[in-house]
Amino acid sequence: SQTIHQWPATLVQPVGSPLSLECTVEGTSNPNLYWYRQAAGRGLQLLFYSVGIGQISSEVPQNLSASRPQDRQFILSSKKLLLSDSGFYLCAWAAGTRGTDTQYFGPGTRLTVL
């Protein structure tokens, strides 16, 4: 069966520090991978998605970047965190890219920037 992991679960970082959030998927090959940010009590904002190694699409301009160094690894990064980067970050995977393909979400990382 497929599982998706996110690390760390919670992170507190000072403004201006770098960031690296990791997402890994097990039990599937060549998944489509997504990074979301969830605003408190509201919807999901898609940040990045990837259809393959080294292929990253950015949905919104921001202080963050994403990389996919391996088939089942998706990393969200920043060189210098801003206060506005605080939030809940979710990684998801899907077998395909159509809207009809179910996305499976990881447990998320809560990031607080102070």
Binding site: A9, T10, Y34, Y36, Q38, G41, R42, G43, L44, Q45, L46, Y49, E59, F88, L90, T97, G99, T100, T102, Q103, Y104, F105, P107, G108, R110
Partner: protein, 111 residues
């Protein structure tokens, strides 16, 4: 074990029918329950529920939460083909604000 279970997993109805989607949960320190509609690249937010018995409505969609029985339902009346999508239920819980998603209900509306 914290979990969110949605049912049915898949549902096919005719245009004009009314459907009820179910979401049950078992979590520690419940905070809120959210419904999403996924038809494109990213799920779109529908409702957030925090209090029992208070129905939230948006057009033909409505939802209610029962915190005693630990479930929520999403109703869609007079369904249209545009309602075809995967409907996701998610629960925010614990003092650390964790979130867990259900597996979704795939709804198909036939003209």
């Amino acid at each position: 074990e914290d979990k969110v279970v949605q049912s049915p997993l898949s549902l096919v109805v005719h245009e004009g029918d009314t459907v009820t989607l179910n979401c049950s949960y078992e979590v520690t320190n419940f905070r809120s329950l959210l419904w999403y509609k996924q038809e494109k690249k990213a799920p779109t937010f529908l409702f957030m529920l925090t209090s029992s018995g208070i129905e939230k409505k948006s057009g033909r969609l409505s939802s209610i939460l029962d915190k005693k029985e630990l479930f929520s339902i999403l109703n869609i009346t007079a369904t249209q083909t545009g309602d075809s999508a995967i409907y996701l239920c998610a629960v925010e819980y614990s003092s650390a604000s964790k979130i867990i998603f259900g597996s979704g209900t795939r709804l198909s509306i036939r003209p």
